[in-house]
Point group: C2
Chain length 127, copies 2
DNA sequence: AGATATAATGATAATGATTACTAATAAATT
DNA sequence: AATTTATTAGTAATCATTATCATTATATCT
């Protein structure tokens, strides 16, 4: 049974409190401002716990994982130059029903989809 | 300048010759059937080279990377139970223009998108 | 064809992110 | 208060990937 420790609350607050899709090292640095002696292993353990509970999302980004406190359905844009991940808050109505379309054609159970755009972000484009 | 070694040709042939979206270890095992003393580092080096040349694609899958010899535009389905990746060869006409839609709304340069479906595949569903 | 330059290789060491381990701690229950 | 057990800090271990380096092989240029 979950005990909702101070460490877990701190990790969740950090992930929920940003839109920068941070990695574990950044979350570790931030939580240390509240709990200076927190262990990096504790951060990883609580991130996994929060993912299993559906409280945060995990993003697969090659060399390391990043985390997202926004569990609402939304899309991402990843800049190929600075590697920053931006939220794409578009209402893509024409994307909504493609789960059903794929399910029908493949015979698979389709529960979700992940859509990520790639290119160059505005800030990188202007420099 | 590229020298198109036997090792590179073997790695490319292996990645092109399957639809299973293999990881580096599997590609290593397969190429060893042709070139028994090939080094794992050589496999990694050539995979990276082929990616930079646009001859194969790299898939980000959490703990390790997987590779795709199909560079045509297509989508994927990842089974949450067996973790197999299937090609989704649908013509999703309504998805084609979303790059432009996102570019217009964000001001970013949008060159591509990656769309992955998730759920349970047919084989896992039936067992 | 032979000489030269340099890309590529095999073997192994190093790296970096993540996970496992362990003894100690702290919170819920009795 | 005693007991149970999840959680922690600290550290070691793991695993995929990358870097290093001496050697080999291939393309290019006379």
């Amino acid at each position: 049974m979950s005990r909702n420790s101070e460490q877990r609350k701190a990790v969740l607050a950090v992930v929920r409190g940003t839109t920068c899709h941070p990695d574990a090292a950044w979350i570790y640095e931030q939580t240390r401002k509240e709990i200076p002696n927190i262990s990096l292993g504790t951060v990883y353990r609580n991130l996994r716990h929060l993912i299993n509970d559906g409280e945060i999302l995990e993003l697969e980004t090659g060399n390391y994982k990043r985390y997202d406190g926004n569990i609402q359905n939304h899309y991402h844009f990843k800049c190929a130059r600075c590697h920053e991940i931006y939220d794409v808050d578009l209402e893509l109505d024409n994307v909504i029903n493609i789960n059903n379309e794929v399910a029908h054609k493949t015979g698979f159970i389709v529960t979700h989809h992940y859509l990520e755009f790639g290119g160059i972000c505005k800030r990188c484009r202007e420099t």
